[in-house]
Subunit: 69 residues, 2 copies
Amino acid sequence: MASRTHDPEPLLTPAEVASMFRVDPKTVTRWAKAGKLSAIRTLGGHRRYRESEVRALLQGQIPTQRQGD
Amino acid sequence: MASRTHDPEPLLTPAEVASMFRVDPKTVTRWAKAGKLSAIRTLGGHRRYRESEVRALLQGQIPTQRQGD
DNA sequence: ACCCAGTGGGGTAATTTGGGTA
DNA sequence: GATGTCCAAATTACCCCACTGG
């Protein structure tokens, strides 16, 4: 088994996610605000995104979960 | 900066594909709906197209799904 | 402490979607 | 059957400036 420390979950910056979807980084921010994409906040308020989730979203395997409706 | 070996697939917007084919963006949308062109969806529902596929289509290297011929 | 590319927040154009129609 | 146009609504892109990340 691995040690008791957490596995280093690969995180992506807004710009990286934006380039993967061919959208503006601001758009990725809107997705996070809308709850379509879970974001991890830095202590300074910047957002980081889980690479695994982003890739799953790109493959369309996640039923585009929306919050407000 | 996140110096991750990141190979984002180049994607094209509907307008870009439309100008490449000299057609209306709406027509490109119809091609995607008809399955003639694979499309990746943004979380907001907009379509993005693979540049490699579009270029191959432009060169006629992909046997378009046509019935008899 | 300085540098500076990237990001957040807000607001406003531009593009895209989807249906119906020519 | 395939493409272009009109319309309303939704989504996205670009503009500002202040702050964060390395």
